[in-house]
Amino acid sequence: MNELHAGLAVFLLLNVLVGLVRVARGPTFADRMLVAQLFGTTGVTVLLVLGADPGRSALRDVALVFAMLAAIAVVAFVQLVPMGGQDRDR
């Protein structure tokens, strides 16, 4: 694995982990879904970077699956989770 790729992957992963602070802080459920969104995009990028390694090209297909399915959780959230106020008063 080339050093720039390794460094970039670690850096992106750290971004994701720091983003988890927002899940803890909220304050609304929408904020938390936003972090799931961040995870999706960053995860796809990490997979593309890892997939640039010789012999690991299958990871690009994993990235493709992630990219296409990332929206399902958000659509499920919008369609199913009642946000009505319960987060506001916290």
């Binding site: 720039l4 790729h5 970039l8 850096f11 992106l12 971004n15 720091v18 983003g19 602070v21 927002r22 609304t28 929408a30 904020d31 879904m33 936003l34 972090v35 969104q37 961040l38 999706g40 995009t41 960053t42 796809v44 990028t45 593309l48 970077v49 640039a52 090209s57 690009r60 990235a63 493709l64 990219a67 296409m68 990332a70 929206a71 958000v74 659509v75 959230f77 919008v78 946000m83 009505g84 106020g85 987060d87 506001r88």
Partner: protein, 106 residues
């Protein structure tokens, strides 16, 4: 170091910088709407730069097409889902920073 590796390395680093900007926005901005704005824009650009960087590095047409499809689906999905999240937050009465909640008198 060929010019190609220099360009691709520069693009990868630039992409990383955009992700950093997005994460900072997620942590520091005052309300869900501005956080949404910062995060989706910066991250989609970050992914774009990384994708172009990797394609230049590999210099393979088939690979570039696949990477492009990945990028296009992310941009599409995250653009639409950020709109959905913002809409859901607004309807639920989450107030933009410094403003009264939607639907209430200021």
């Amino acid at each position: 170091m060929t010019p190609r590796t220099v360009i691709s390395a520069a693009l990868l680093i630039l992409g990383g910088a955009f992700f950093l900007a997005g994460t900072l926005g997620l942590l520091r901005f005052p309300d869900v709407y501005s956080r949404l704005h910062a995060l989706t824009k910066a991250d989609n650009l970050g992914l774009g730069f990384v994708a172009v960087g990797l394609s230049i590095e590999a210099a393979s047409f088939a690979l570039s097409v696949k990477v492009f499809i990945v990028w296009a689906s992310v941009v599409l999905a995250s653009g639409i889902s950020s709109q959905l999240i913002a809409g859901a937050a607004f309807r639920a009465g989450v107030a933009p920073a410094g403003k009264a909640p939607p639907g209430e008198a200021p």
